[in-house]
């Protein structure tokens, strides 16, 4: 690059740009500096704690004193710990059931809301409310709804004569599991629904018109137009939904604290109980780190399964 210097009355002199001037206008150099604040933020608050957590899982750190490196001892012990495997089972059960139902109900809601309805805007806002209410508040409300002695559900059913004794929602192992799954679904459906609705709106109506002209049934329209075009959105929203459900803490902690007899302990809540309440930071960190393979698997499934079609990447279809 050359720079032309203008001086009054003299001939133009061309000279090569200095290294500094080249650097000043180099795109990559500038973009590095522009990204630096965001990168620093992410590294400090995401990457560093993650790295520290993984490191802690290889030590025997306790709250109040640092630990020494112990290699895989925490993991070896967890391998034989039945409570840990119970929490893994609970987490997988919780995530798969809740995410599947959230997807089904969310998709159905999105399809409904996409139709021409009266009061569409208000309906959409109402649908979003469960997601916006702070989790702890809705968890406390569900905790009251599912109280073994004072549940309004038990009371109503008793008044209607359908049952004679209170339902033990949170004291029976499987009842507790279904109760927290239900609370999670109630909370999470709006997120899926609204995001899928946004995706539905990007589907060009001309595709539907062409299909209708060709004689497609509503189901065929859904299967051949709506669903394939939605897959990128589904991939994104389900990845988020699975991630958030898998690492759920607030709902479980407020409603059952992981009980009864650890039947609703997720890996996140067990990790908290062992690490912060019990003081065994190394072991708790190991439980948290054990979540990473599952989460990675979920992301990879979503990426490879749903996002790799050529036409989604901008190339033409095979």
């Amino acid at each position: 690059m050359t720079i032309a210097l203008e001086q009054a009355g003299t001939k133009r002199v061309m000279r090569d740009a200095t290294a500094w001037e080249r650097l000043k206008t180099n795109r990559e150099w500038l973009s590095l500096w522009f990204m630096l604040p965001a990168a620093a933020f992410l590294i400090l608050f995401l990457a560093y704690p993650l790295g520290l957590g993984v490191w802690l899982s290889f030590t025997d750190a306790r709250i109040g004193r640092s630990g020494v490196f112990v290699g895989l001892e925490n993991y070896e012990w967890l391998w034989d710990d039945s409570t840990f495997w119970l929490s893994v089972f609970n987490t997988l059960l919780y995530t798969t059931v809740a995410s599947t139902i959230k997807f089904a109900v969310g998709l159905y809601l999105a399809l409904l809301l996409n139709e021409k309805l009266p009061f569409k805007a208000i309906l959409r806002a109402l649908v979003l409310v469960p997601f916006i209410v702070p989790t702890v508040l809705s968890a406390i409300a569900f905790w009251w709804l599912f109280d073994p002695q004072f549940s309004i559900i038990s009371w109503s059913l008793k008044k209607m004569g359908l049952i004679t004794a209170n339902i033990d929602f949170l004291g029976d192992i499987w009842n507790a599991r279904w109760s927290v799954i239900f609370a999670n679904i109630w909370r999470g459906v709006p997120f899926v629904a609204i995001t899928l609705l946004a995706g539905l709106q990007t589907v060009s109506p001309s595709l539907y018109e062409a299909a209708t002209i060709d004689g497609a049934t509503p189901w065929q329209r859904f299967r051949f137009i709506t669903y394939p075009l939605l897959t990128p959105i589904i991939a994104v929203v389900m990845t988020f939904s699975v991630l958030f459900t898998f690492t759920d803490f607030q709902l479980i902690w407020v409603m059952t604290r992981g009980g009864p007899v650890n039947a609703t302990h997720l890996m996140a809540t067990l990790s908290y109980q062992r690490a912060i309440l019990g003081g065994q930071l190394g072991e708790g960190a190991a439980i948290s780190t054990a979540m990473i393979p599952f989460l990675l698997a979920a992301i990879l499934v979503s990426w490879f399964g749903l996002q790799r079609r050529k036409w989604q990447q901008g190339e033409s279809n095979d």
Binding site: R62, I63, G64, R65, W77, D80, D81, S82, T83, D147, P148, Q149, F150, A165, N166, D168, F169, L170, G171, D172, I173, A176, T256, R257, G258, G259, P260, V261, N262, A263, Q273, R274, I276, L277, G278, G279, Q280
Partner: protein
């Protein structure tokens, strides 16, 4: 009063133990004199912050605030009090210990100071001073407060957890009072259930009520988590007997106890859904205060825990130690505050304002009028003397604290009572966890 010398202070101190409060300006005068004579002179420009457990009884907190104000007026040290739910004090204290910053003083639960003993200021001088002045510490307080040869915390008070029961329902079932032996208690529970007036103990992760009854059950049958050398001895026929007893008792309880936390039994008792449970005095206090529950207040009473085959009381009551952290800039001010809290003129009115919720652990305070004002309060006055320490026969240290916080014993009982595991299985899981904790 214009002649406050050390002599008048000592005379006044011992008399005031039985009498109760100095208030208002008299308290201030006393506090100023105390500050002049106390062996701990706060540092210049000292400012303290203390994190304490949230009050159970409003009047207790009000009295405590007055106490702090007197301390500030006397010594010039401002104290900033923050309150957390008592289960949350431990995580906060742990984080502060780990990071080296935070409140100067923590007032928490059980063996909190033993989670990080090296981070606690040595308060042996305060403990010796108070012990000498007020008739000595109860044995469990000494165990809780000391780590090795030095005191790392001052046991301020205990929170008694006793049997609460409804008198009329019990009489109808054939019992004029709660039986004092475990076998009798099981019969009591059976009879109450037959009359459709059952009770319940928490089997969920209730750190106060749940831990209280399962440890009583385990210890009263001779079971123990560890021996005095911290060797795990949970796997024993005595533990199995305790588990069988608990399962028999569970069958006579109202359904749903496996999901109970510390507040659940309060709610259920006050709604008349259960007729016996274990709790502090909070149910009685709440019933007295609420005009619609007056009938429950009149119809209920408290009793000691039944004694098991082992032959002596084996109760577990909550203890609230206060400790100063080594990162504090004002250790002398901290010690002065700790000593001030337990001086008779402060402690007596404060214990009274707690309405029986809190129990003393210095023997001189046996004479506090709260224990005789209402006969239903009396059993709580003995909480500190009857309790065993967390960890049972073993050390009161971070291992015992971890075992309690991780609900090892509670889960063992819950696993067997709800039928999730058989006897061997429940013991095996708990034993494995204990071996790991106590390694």
């Amino acid at each position: 009063m214009n002649n406050f010398t050390r002599r008048t202070l000592v005379k006044g101190g011992t008399a005031a133990v039985a009498a109760g409060a100095l208030t208002g300006p008299a308290l201030l005068e006393w506090a100023k004199a105390w500050a002049q004579n106390a062996p701990w002179k706060p540092e210049k420009n000292a400012k303290l912050s203390m994190l304490r457990w949230k009050y159970f009884v409003q009047s207790e907190d009000d009295a405590f605030v007055k106490l702090i104000e007197a301390f500030t007026a006397a010594t010039g040290v401002k104290v900033d009090i923050s309150r957390e739910s008592y289960e949350d004090v431990q995580p906060k204290a742990s984080v502060a210990a780990n990071t080296g910053t935070g409140p100067d003083l923590f007032w928490g639960l059980y063996s909190l100071p033993h989670l990080f003993p090296q981070k606690c200021v040595d308060v042996t001088d305060v403990a010796d001073y108070l012990g000498k002045k007020y008739g000595g510490w109860v044995p469990s307080a000494v165990t809780y407060g000391k780590s090795g040869n030095k005191w790392i915390a001052i046991p301020i008070c205990y929170s008694g957890n006793m049997i609460n029961y409804r008198i009329e329902a019990s009489t109808k079932a054939g019992f004029s009072k709660v039986p004092d032996k475990t076998d009798g208690f099981l019969e009591y529970a059976k009879a109450m259930k037959k009359n459709n007036t059952p009770g319940g103990f928490a089997l969920g992760h209730a750190s106060g009520d749940g831990n209280g009854w399962v440890h009583w059950c385990l210890w009263s049958h001779g079971g123990n988590t560890v021996d005095k050398d911290d060797k795990v001895i949970l796997n024993s026929p005595e533990t199995a007997k305790a588990l069988e007893y608990a399962k028999a008792l569970y069958a006579e309880m109202i359904p749903g106890v496996a999901s109970w936390n510390d507040a659940s039994n309060n709610k259920a008792f006050l709604a008349g859904e259960i007729n016996w449970t274990d709790n502090g005095i909070s149910i009685y206090v709440a019933a007295k205060k609420d005009p619609s529950k007056k009938q429950i207040a009149e119809d209920m009473d408290h009793s000691y825990w039944p004694v098991g085959p082992i032959g002596k009381p084996t109760e577990l009551h909550l203890m609230y130690p206060a400790m100063a952290m080594t990162y504090t800039k004002y250790p002398q001010a901290c010690k002065a505050l700790l000593a001030f809290m337990l001086e008779a003129d402060n402690f007596n009115p404060w214990i009274q304002s707690a309405q029986g919720y809190l129990t003393h652990c210095l023997n001189a305070y046996d004479k506090n009028p709260i224990w005789t004002a209402d006969p239903k309060n009396t059993v709580f006055g003995q909480a500190a003397k009857r309790t065993l320490t967390a960890g049972g026969l073993g050390s009161v240290g971070e291992k015992a604290a971890t075992a309690i916080a991780d609900f090892v014993v509670l889960d063992m009982f819950a696993n067997y009572c709800t039928g999730r595991e058989d006897v061997k299985g429940s013991i095996a899981i708990a034993e494995r966890q204990l071996k790991r904790i106590y390694r």
